[in-house]
């Protein structure tokens, strides 16, 4: 039983975190149209809400959350990341979210403490 708990604590839970991120973005942006002024406000709100909900998970992880908000224009984008970490305990989650005018990419890195 103790071993099972340890495993759950150690693992970076991809499903739960991607659900959290999806919900946060849908709540904050929803179906609204992209404007430059709104995008700054949205970005702050999204990042804050994702981080506070990660905090409530209460796991021994340090989190890094990156949000990219883009107007849909037909422009291309490539994102890549490279990490030096402990592959057994650390992980990351990447969420793509779309509405008619906005494209959002949320990346969450979780680094285990100890």
């Amino acid at each position: 039983m103790d071993e099972m708990l340890e495993d759950e604590e150690l693992m970076f839970n991809n499903e739960v975190i991607s659900k959290l991120a999806n919900e946060s973005v849908s709540n904050i942006i929803g179906e609204k149209m992209y404007t430059e002024k709104d995008s700054k406000i949205w970005m702050n709100k999204i990042v804050e809400s994702v981080l506070t909900s990660l905090q409530t998970l209460n796991k021994p992880f340090k989190y890094i959350v990156t949000v990219l908000l883009e107007q849909k224009n037909g422009a291309g984008l490539y994102a890549s990341s490279d990490c030096r970490w402990d592959a057994s305990t650390d992980g990351f989650c990447c969420v793509n979210w779309n509405n008619e005018t906005t494209h959002a990419v949320i990346t969450i890195f979780g680094l285990h403490i100890q």
């Binding site: 340090k62 990219l68 984008l77 490279d82 990346t107």
Partner: protein, 159 residues
């Protein structure tokens, strides 16, 4: 007489079998020990703060060097395979050079965005939940008329 012999043989054979049994047992335990997982015990270092901290300005210099080496003003977004390998190449080169700065017990995360400029509006932001005394980040941007490149390096201390 024959029984005695048999018993003698029996005894001797018993002894042999006992010996072989012991040998087998010995081999078995050795084999089990060889198969048993070696459990590493980590001792306490009693160190509260890192001996060598992550210095952001050094990492920024490394990123600048790598940008100058790989990116110039004529780079366009036309060849998609090139851009894909370029973004991965930049990420791995930045990671290698930050590793070469030789800062022990730090975990490093490098993230690179390369996008096409087509008159769209774009916002990139990041926020962290970590120990502000020991952990830090660096970010650098590059832009020409066709593409933009943003690179972020995060370094967190492992207690």
């Amino acid at each position: 007489m024959s029984t005695a012999r048999r018993s003698m043989y029996g005894k001797s054979s018993n002894k042999k079998s006992k010996q072989t049994d012991l040998e087998e047992l010995g081999n078995e335990t050795e084999a089990r020990m060889a198969r048993a997982p070696i459990i590493e015990m980590w001792e306490n270092t009693y160190r509260m703060e890192p001996q060598k901290k992550f210095k952001p300005y050094l990492a920024e210099k490394e990123i600048e060097n790598i940008f100058d080496k790989n990116l110039n003003d004529d780079l366009k977004y036309d060849e998609i395979e090139n851009i894909k390998s370029l973004s991965q190449k930049i990420s791995s080169e930045i990671k290698e050079s930050v590793k070469n700065l030789d800062i022990p017990r730090y975990k490093i995360v490098v993230q690179t965005f390369i996008g096409q400029i087509k008159g769209q509006s774009l916002q990139i932001g990041s926020r962290f939940l970590w120990n502000a005394n020991t952990d830090n980040y660096v970010s650098k941007q590059f832009r020409n008329d066709y593409i933009y490149v943003t690179s972020m390096v995060f370094a967190t201390y492992l207690e």
